[in-house]
Amino acid sequence: MSTVPIEPLLHLSPLRRSSTIHRGPTTSSLNLRCHFTSKKLHSIGRSIASGNSLGFRRRSVAIRASSSDTAVVETTSQSDDVIFKGIFPVQRIDKAEGKIYVRLKKVKENDWELSVGCSLPGKWILHWGVSYVGDTGSEWDQPPEDMRPPGSLAIKDYAIETPLEKLSEGDSFHQVTINLNLESSVAALNFVLKDEETGAWYQHKGRDFKVPLLDDVPDDGNLIGAKKGFGALGKLSNIIVKQGKSSSGSTKERKGLEEFYEEMPISKHVSGDNSVSVTARKCPETSKNIVSIETDLPGDVTVHWGVCKNGSKKWEIPAEPYPEETFLFKNKALRTRLQRKDSGDGSFGLFSLDEKLEGLCFVLKLNENTWLNNRGEDFYVPFLTSTSLPVETEAAQVSGKTPKTNQEVSESGFTDEIITEIRNLAIDISSHKNQKTNVKEVHINILQEIEKLAAEAYSIFRSTTPTFTPESVLEAEADEPKIKISSGTGSGFEILCQGFNWESHKSGRWYKELQEKADELASLGFTVLWLPPPTESVSPEGYMPKDLYNLNSRYGTIDELKETVKRFHKVGIKVLGDAVLNHRCAHFKNSNGVWNLFGGRLNWDDRAVVADDPHFQGRGNKSSGDNFHAAPNIDHSQDFVRKDIKEWLCWMREEVGYDGWRLDFVRGFWGGYVKDYMDASKPYFAVGEYWDSLSYTYGEMDYNQDAHRQRIVDWINATSGAAGAFDVTTKGILHAALQKCEYWRLSDPKGKPPGVVGWWPSRAVTFIENHDTGSTQGHWRFPGGKEMQGYAYILTHPGTPAVFFDHIYSDYRSEIASLLSLRNRQKLHCRSEVNIVKSERDVYAAIIDEKVAMKIGPGHYEPPSGSQNWSVAVEGRDYKVWETS
């Protein structure tokens, strides 16, 4: 037995550290899960730390000494038969503990200084305001100008944000100092601390921190600044003492003010980037597969694993022998504890597996509540036979797991988690009577978990067409056409009309019906019409395309389509086709009975299907985006696929006469491919549907939706601006603003519109409703009765507005018509300048290009009566629009 050969194995992979990138709300569920679990348990930090205990070391030594006939021995004979090698970044969440301190110091007679500091690294912001003498209630006010330190930013009319500065380079202490002039009428200073890196807020006993400067400040239990001598942190909750009482009978209120210094514990979740490196070799003598797993994760690491055989990716239990410290877990998986490296910074393990096995699946377990996987999937190590592919080093090699097995594992994991959580709750309750924060955290974490789960369920439900299972979709013989179109920027003066709703296929003659409306739509002022998907489709609405070259659909025949396009061209309206490029329904089953072979003119095989949707057994590469689960997702990384799609788009341009595209579900593939398609088909106008969820905290929409619009802008960027995108952000914010009378949401901190239109107006296609969000599906319906406010917004603002068919043929018609004619008359366009003049609780007002003024909301606003002469152009319930005459 020799351990020598292990050493090179241990060091063959310089640990790659991936940079910490904040992905915002798209962060994989893995991170959220870890965040959740580690946050809820104070014991996590401890258990990781305790991994270094002596006991463990001793054990690990013992293992090495006694290791006999399994893994280690066999590695001695191995040569270069590396069959798999991969390094996977993993992110773990640790809890860092530190303190917040608050110091009140006297500088001169009436000049005092309040310092707030924090010992943890981070991008700390003090979010603060004051209460004036005579204020009642818990509201904040803006402090006087002279109190604001340099670099402060006003938030609305009630708060200031001041960043904390590093005390010294290389030190993690951050601090901010506010000068107080006691001659002002400030009665108290309120603040909370915010970490911009994580978006987390830190409060004091669940409330604002409140530093009283007078002795009659009402005590809501959140005052700080007390008598000296309260060093014990655990007692902080009991130390609320009003200054007045500590000053011996002074008559002047301010005299009660005393210097103080207080510390409070704070904890923050810091993500650590580690990696797992996996190497599989074939032992030439025994032909066994030797897998080495090593990681730089600190503490105990347990590998929760199983093997795959017979072509299925199901977890199975291999025959013995197992590595040391291996236990059977519920007959579903094995658990092997990794051995500590001698250097102390990580662990490793060797697994010797039968040659016939096809692969090894595993996840890592750090403790009861922390599991790590490979970006949401199990780690998978394929044992390729000598005849198959050469060595792969990419992480992409790791492919999907069997959903079923995974489900089982995670389910029991879930139940275990809840139990552990409750136990800990009980323990915490009994052991820390006063540490209320624990309980609160558990509670908040339960809420977060609920929201996370709901979001997960939502994203899946939303992306599937519930009526069709993949099987039934593919079996159905129904001929449904399907096409999507998107557009770029056109002239800049475009106004889009979505020319159908979810029911339009029902008449069977939609194209003809639309033709009859051509003159009417043109006279209303539309310049672009978005037609429904034209191809054969297994769902009548057209979004499950099958044969892309068959343009006979429930909306009509190819000839009727061509006629329609011609008709609209005649009245000067450009026409967009709805192109569904993400997925395509197959014509035939493969040998396993899975539908992934296509027919028709584009008779692709399973190489055209992405590999990471287990339902369709694609042989392509992993998807470059999100998967749509109801049909095979097309692998756009294949040259032949891209070539065919480009050809098809060009054919549609020529044959049908489409001017551009509305692109369906572009989250499903990389925007770079869209650029390729746009370059080839040269649309006049193109717009992509990039729809994901906005950020919510505790069910309430966040004010700052920058992460959301960033994702859309990122997509537009990936297309090099060749296509615009629907401004989902603006729609979402309008929902919240109108529904709850929170019009302040309509201005971002920089005073710009808060949606995509605020950042990249020429590529933003603003809308308030479409066939998915409204119509008879109603997945995300615009607040009822407030549609006209929405249109008053998008039809006066920059961006390219899109009007939904149902609204044109509703009671709103005449009001919409007036707004359309105003937009055309005043020549507002997608790059118009918008100047937000009011964004308050109940009213939002803006002036666009200095010639159109608008307000929405019940509140009052009138444009300034200056040099310009404003006259009312359109007016309706809770909105008003003026123009200069």
């Binding site: 904040w140 009630y158 807020w201 389910e411 139940t415 609920i450 789960l453 009526t467 299972t469 069910g699």
Partner: protein, 531 residues
Amino acid sequence: MEVSVIGNPQAKICRAELSFRELGFRLGSGESRNKVCFLTHQSSKWKEIRIRCSPRSVKCEAIVSDQAPFLKPTPNPRSQLESVKLFVGLPLDTVSDCNNVNHMKAITAGLKALKLLGVEGVELPVFWGVVEREAAGKYEWSGYLAVAEIVKKVGLKLQVSLSFHGSKDPEIGLPDWVAKIGEGEPGMYFTDRYGKQYKDCLSFGVDDVPVLDGKTPMEVYGGFCESFKSAFSDYMGNTITGITLGMGPAGELRYPSHQHETKPSGAGEFQCYDKHMLSALKHYAESSGNPLWGLGGPHDAPAYDQQPHSTSFFSDGGSWESQYGDFFLTWYSSLLTSHADRVLSVASSAFGGSGVSVSGKLPLLHQWNKLRSQPSELTAGFYSSNGHDRYEAIAEIFAKNSCRMIIPGMDLSDEHQSLASLSSPESLLGNIKTSCKKQGVVVSGQNSSASVPGGFERIVENLKDESVGIDLFTYQRMGALFFSPEHFHAFTVFVRNMNQVELSSYDQAGEDEAQTVSLGSGTGAHSLQTA
């Protein structure tokens, strides 16, 4: 031992908002079990919701038993609402017709979320056309068993709806073999005046006619129930706490008189034109001495989406009030009543003693119910001569079979109905509840859909109503809309509100009683007003 935490759940610190809610935890004080209380602070009024978290139930969780969820409202001895168990319906297409579980991942995540929220369980629609799809007596339960297992693992309860009807959206038909028989035996489907068949449900006229390979539909339904019972024997009485029997179109006890769900504006049509019902009508007419009345249904009834008063049948003094009208409607409604009796007897004989409750669902036909004739109810089969309560006979059947009654539409309020529809869901609901109370039938509630304006508030009010103790409510239905951030948030608030109301109703018992009274009188006044 007492721990109290006050937390502001609003990460944003917005001033001057009512949103200054506070949530907190308090942990039991000096009692033998730990209690966790959420404290909600709105303006200056404190409301309290209690959540019991006894070490015992924790232990039960550990062995993945079906014990109560750990977040559960503590019974409030003085509140009617204390024991309302909240269920959420699973998607209709949870199991595909190939017996696969659809959106497994989404459902699993959804179930966990519901469990954490403290929801009691879920309702699972089981379709005849999925389970006994291929051949008579060949049952395939695997898909539904898989769902039951997940539900059990997550620790939720299950209400199963055995559906002997088909669905348009998602498209689930009757079993293939039944459809095949139907091609040669068109008389087994409901048929309207123009001979159009309704193929999503068998006609009440063939209940006891051996049309299905020598068996009557009732025998086939019975066999289905027995097979279900043995296939799910491990779950009965523990995970599965209730069974609902499908009684007609969409599972509801009614004739398919309204077939265009999106356009419920008309009066609906009588469905008595299949072979079997026509011959029964003929027979009945002859035996009552008016053979000419048995030649067909009313000739002057309006079509599905015609206004009730567009023809003479439903107008004041119209045919419905004539002797002929009474003759026809009595017969038409008696078939509905006897159908109810047959189905419920099948159910109670199959499931009696297996530890589950059995229920059947009524429709809430509120369209046009401010008209004296109440045409929607008449075409659907609810009638009583002499102006007696139209629901009493039905409630009696439920009582006789010891079945619970599910009433939908608890989210509908009068103020949101269009004036033109002359509709009052609230008073109709009151009527049915009164009948149930008279007959001692236990009522469960359902909502009509997830997007009714003011729906949640209305549901809470209905559940608060102490005149009929509703102890089970099923919220319809899980899916994309249900989990959309806006709806799900509202649902979360609803779940918490139910508990809050519990307490405020306790605080304001007097007010609640007053509401009950006014509801009662409103019901009484109703028939006068509509004159």
